[in-house]
Amino acid sequence: MTLYDILKESWISISGNKLRSFLTVLGIIIGVMAVVIMVAVGETVQKSITDQFSSLGTNTIVVRAGAARNRGVRTGNRQTLTITDTDQIKRLSDVMYITPAQMGTAQVIYGNKNWSTMLLGAYPDYLSIQDIEMEYGAPFDMNAVKNASAYAIIGPDTAYELGLPDNPVGEFIRIQHIPFVVVGVMKARGDSAFGSQDDMIIIPITTLKKRLQGSKFPDAVTMIALKIFPDANNNVVIEQITSLLRQRHRLKDGDEDDFQITDMKQIMETMDTVTGYLKLLLIAIAAVSLLVGSIGIMNMMLVSVAERTREIGVRKAIGAQERVIIIQFLSESVMISFIGSMIGLILGVGLSQGVGRFILDYNVPFSIWPVILSISVAVVVGLASGVMPAIKAAKLNPIDSLRYE
């Protein structure tokens, strides 16, 4: 029996019951299409997040403050990082840009417009670390930090919401009733994974701490962000910062760090793992429909074996060996699965690419995975769902089969 014979026999059997075969194939089409679309969704999310983080560069390091502790007991909410820590870290040779950072929200007024936005206290280096470019004006300098000047760099969305003129440099806005001079407007950057990057105001850290927050600990900050030189080693710098901060915070051997250091590389790896799990979850959900489709094939094949009992008897009587019967039924289930998988693949890729490009205006990444997956599914699902019916058919007694009504 040649491959041509096997395929011909399978095709005749499948096409002999068109509606039933179509419905069975439909199950696989939906299953494979769902998996292919979910892979595309997962990869799009992963790519979008990775793109955003990688645009910041992998040489960015963030130090976050923990709470103050005494012999392992948390002694209050006081933040452990300080502006002085920042200045000390700045002395490390590999540090290119550094800034302390403290966030808050503030009610901002311009004329009769009132807008609530995110407020960030930082050094001007923050703009270099985040690759923020200016649309109008220029960033404040370190003198402004030293003097706790009321200077503000505003995001384009904030400027729009406040109804500021096109070039608002020199305009006064009120942040918590304190007048600030707008020294610059950032270029639009779009949304990030954490929300809009264009609706915020950056002011000197000292201004935030002393004039707006009136903190009891004006030196304390929640975060220090730094960018190291591209040829510097992240791990070496992290070790240096750790050692420096432990020394400065007078931590003894065995004491836990009262700060956390993460670099963008770690964050990207973590995000990659998280989005990887998300992708797996999506595929797993879609795979359920594929499983249902494969059960459909098995069901159809079992019905087919029952219906064709006499045919199997005739074939065995005229010389078909068990393996020939097995191959024939397996090839039928693989053919159904293959047809369904290929149609599902085409529809899945077409839909995900089409919706991405023409509706969402996003370039959905094309991956070879759905193709490999579909072919694997075709073979595995076809074989898995066909093996039991095929063995059942092969083991039929020719005498009983020939008598079957």
Binding site: Y4, I318, G319, A320
Partner: protein, 248 residues
């Protein structure tokens, strides 16, 4: 060259089946006969006599519980299912009461089926199948489907299929059972022709004496035993007498 080798040598074949309620039931007892090449034999017996079981063993569809069975010089008693499938394909052509054609295959596809399992290339299959269809007078129907043919034509297709593999033996199980008497006679005359003109060995299972009369030899089975083996008797009474003797 193989003229001397008998087609079938059955020696003390017994067959028993396990019963659902436990124990076993023996249905064939010491069946012994030899069939030579070119014979036309009718195996006859009433319903439940064991003739179908005997046919299944002769046709290598079933194995005997004891005894030996040689088909064309080959002992097939202990063969596996797959080995028996090869034997059936090479040595036996089956003709069934209800034709057993594959309804979704064309006539020529049905005739080519044994050749496909034998591994013939497509050209040889088509050539041989066309020859056989010409032999049974259906050369113009090769692209038809079985449902488009009459009962007699279907049985002629079944004969063409049985002959396509050039078997040593044609085994026909009640070949006229689904046909009217005119068609039945036509088929039986065709068997006579195949046997006489082409020297094909035919074993025909039947429960009707009138049909058995077309054969040259009759083996009568009653209650699992052979009660008569010889030339076709002039009347069925001879066979009934053997049954009575057996009962006693």
């Amino acid at each position: 060259m193989n003229k001397e080798i008998p087609i079938i040598v059955m020696n003390k074949i017994c067959k028993s089946f396990p019963l659902a309620i436990g124990g076993i039931q023996q249905v064939l007892f010491d069946i012994t006969f030899t069939i030579n090449s070119g014979e036309f034999v009718a195996i006859m017996g009433p319903s439940g006599s064991g003739k179908s079981t005997c046919m299944n063993i002769v046709g290598a569809l079933d194995s005997a519980s004891s005894g030996t069975y040689e088909l064309y010089g080959k002992d097939i008693t202990m063969m596996t299912g797959d080995e028996l499938a090869v034997v059936r394909n090479e040595y036996i052509g089956f003709i069934f009461q209800n034709f057993n054609l594959l309804p979704k295959r064309t006539i020529i596809d049905n005739v080519m089926l044994p050749l496909m399992y034998r591994g013939f290339v497509m050209e040889d299959r088509i050539r041989r199948a066309r020859e056989m269809l010409r032999l049974v007078g259906l050369e113009n129907f090769e692209t038809y489907f079985p449902t488009q043919l009459s009962g007699g034509m279907k049985q002629r297709v079944a004969i063409a299929r049985a002959l396509s593999g050039e078997p040593k033996l044609i085994l026909a199980d009640e070949p006229t059972g689904s046909l009217d008497s005119k068609m039945g006679t036509e088929i039986l005359r065709f068997f006579e022709k195949l046997n006489k003109d082409f020297g094909i060995t035919i074993i025909m299972i039947t429960h009707e004496f009138e049909i058995a009369q077309f054969a040259k030899r009759l083996i009568h089975i009653y209650d699992g035993r052979i009660t008569y083996d010889g030339a076709i008797p002039k009347s069925e009474t001879t066979l009934l007498k053997t049954e009575k003797r057996h009962k006693k």
